[in-house]
Symmetry: C2
């Protein structure tokens, strides 16, 4: 049984860890919330006290932490994994981060003889749980050779985007730009529709078969129709991710007018105390409309 380590058992990481268990790996995990960690142990996983301990048990690590800061912390902070990993180990880094950070991280790990796969994902918690993520992957060929069974266990599709970390995160950045703008656009469209007297369910059905459709419109508008803002992905995620997009563009003196407008919508929702609601809660920014369901008051 091959050993693999997972750092971060959030909504994405837990699904990935379970997919690895199903595929027959010995899965070691590191997670600050002890109840979640012990739940995973009850399912057959193994608990590691900290990233350094994890690195002694497995030489392929999958990181499902939230951002660049946490990625840095679990690799290079106190009891970090990097110092404990053997040469030739592979780090699969999946947080959405600035491409320059990912490229730099690859260099810092390479100095220690550690291989990195820049591996942001698309697909959400449901596909993480079923082992069917899409991975936008970039890294040296030996890393892919060593990690091929791990990647196969968690992903339906692995896009090989080059040898240099950063290329995955560049495409992910563009994907997040569109995802965030499309959520804000779906909210704006449905809000206007309600305001001018469209039946929201009919609107959803007709536009789902028309040129105005998007993956996000299809996926998020049902939350509005159900009045259910349980966070499958929270407003705060796009406060963060569109912030990364805008920062990367700013460093290149590149204007992104729609992204900036969408970011303001997520900021407005977060500022109104809705940062932990589902991201389509940006529709609550709009005045004078009665949303479906009990959340519409």
């Amino acid at each position: 049984m091959s050993n693999v380590g997972v750092i971060g058992l959030g909504s994405m990481g837990l699904g990935v860890a379970r997919s690895l268990l199903r595929a027959g790996f010995a899965v070691h995990a590191c997670e600050p919330r002890q109840d979640v960690l012990q739940g995973f142990v009850a399912e057959g996983g193994k608990a590691a006290a900290d990233p350094a301990a994890l690195a002694k048990a497995a030489d392929i690590l999958v990181l499902f932490v939230v951002n660049a800061e946490q990625t840095d912390q679990v690799l290079f902070g106190a009891d970090g994994a990097a110092a404990a990993l053997p040469k030739g180990a592979v780090v699969i880094a999946s947080a959405t981060v600035a491409p320059d950070y990912a490229e730099n991280l690859g260099n810092r790990l390479a100095e220690r003889g550690i291989l990195m796969i820049d591996a942001p994902v698309s697909g959400g918690a449901a596909r993480a749980a079923s082992g069917q993520l899409s991975i936008m992957a970039a890294g040296p060929a030996p890393a892919f050779d060593k990690a091929s069974k791990v990647l196969a266990a968690i992903a339906e599709k692995v896009y090989r985007l080059g040898e240099v970390p950063g290329q995955g995160s560049r495409i992910k950045l563009v994907n997040q730009l569109l995802a965030g703008v499309h959520i804000a656009a779906a909210a704006e469209a449905v809000a206007l529709g309600i305001r001018i007297g469209c039946d929201p369910q009919t609107l959803y059905e007709v536009i789902g078969n028309s040129a105005g459709n998007s993956w996000m419109f299809q996926n998020r508008v049902p939350h509005v129709l159900a009045g259910d803002y349980t966070p499958l992905s929270a407003v705060n995620i796009f406060v963060k991710d569109l912030g990364i997009v805008l920062d990367a563009a700013k460093r290149n003196a590149f204007p992104l007018p729609l992204t900036a407008a969408a970011h303001q919508q997520f900021l407005a929702a977060a500022g109104a105390g809705r940062g932990l609601e589902d991201d389509i809660a940006v529709i609550k920014n709009f005045p004078g409309i009665a949303l479906p369901g009990k959340a519409g008051g």
Copy 2:
């Protein structure tokens, strides 16, 4: 052989007129460009000198003109159709117009005993040509009864959205909001991708299978990849349509921040002399990038 009239043989109307010919109708057409009109006659159509003459030849009229002004002109202007149509005739009005205009038009025609179907469409020129449009239709039941074979000949899907004209145009308005925002977002995303070093073809393939996808991203980005800005639908169409959306929202004191940002992008492209290029030419607004193809200079 049943008679039907088509006013406007543009990229949409000509396809619709041909679909009606294929379905076995005697198709009378009215179109100011004589070469286009005579080309249609050569295919088996019949030419009418003006809308009033058309109204004497057919008591079901399909309007594929550009906007509310032209709709008004062909119905109520000099040699307009309305005064020449018999009671019980049906007008199928397909231009994208303000919902309040459509509702009012239904009332004005009803005063003359003429039935109106508010019938904006989705699907573009290709589906107009193949008789597979989606129609967002609202109007009185007797109008649908009388026009059922005409609608079947031109549409794959007819959404019945109510008895009162305006309900079709309301949904169409929301669809155009999304379509316009998604085109501007696709341009912004691909432009950023090129700026930060993504291969555009790879970007297209990966995002087409990810959460950032939209109908418009799928449909328009290939034009950028081919460097081909031949107008299948022109920048000026969205200058107009997002203007209609913003005006309707303004009348309701309703804010549309993303729509406003997208409208500015279409205005910027039109102001730079690209109003007659394909709508994805908004990508040429972005500075400092080399677009694929000869148009990228």
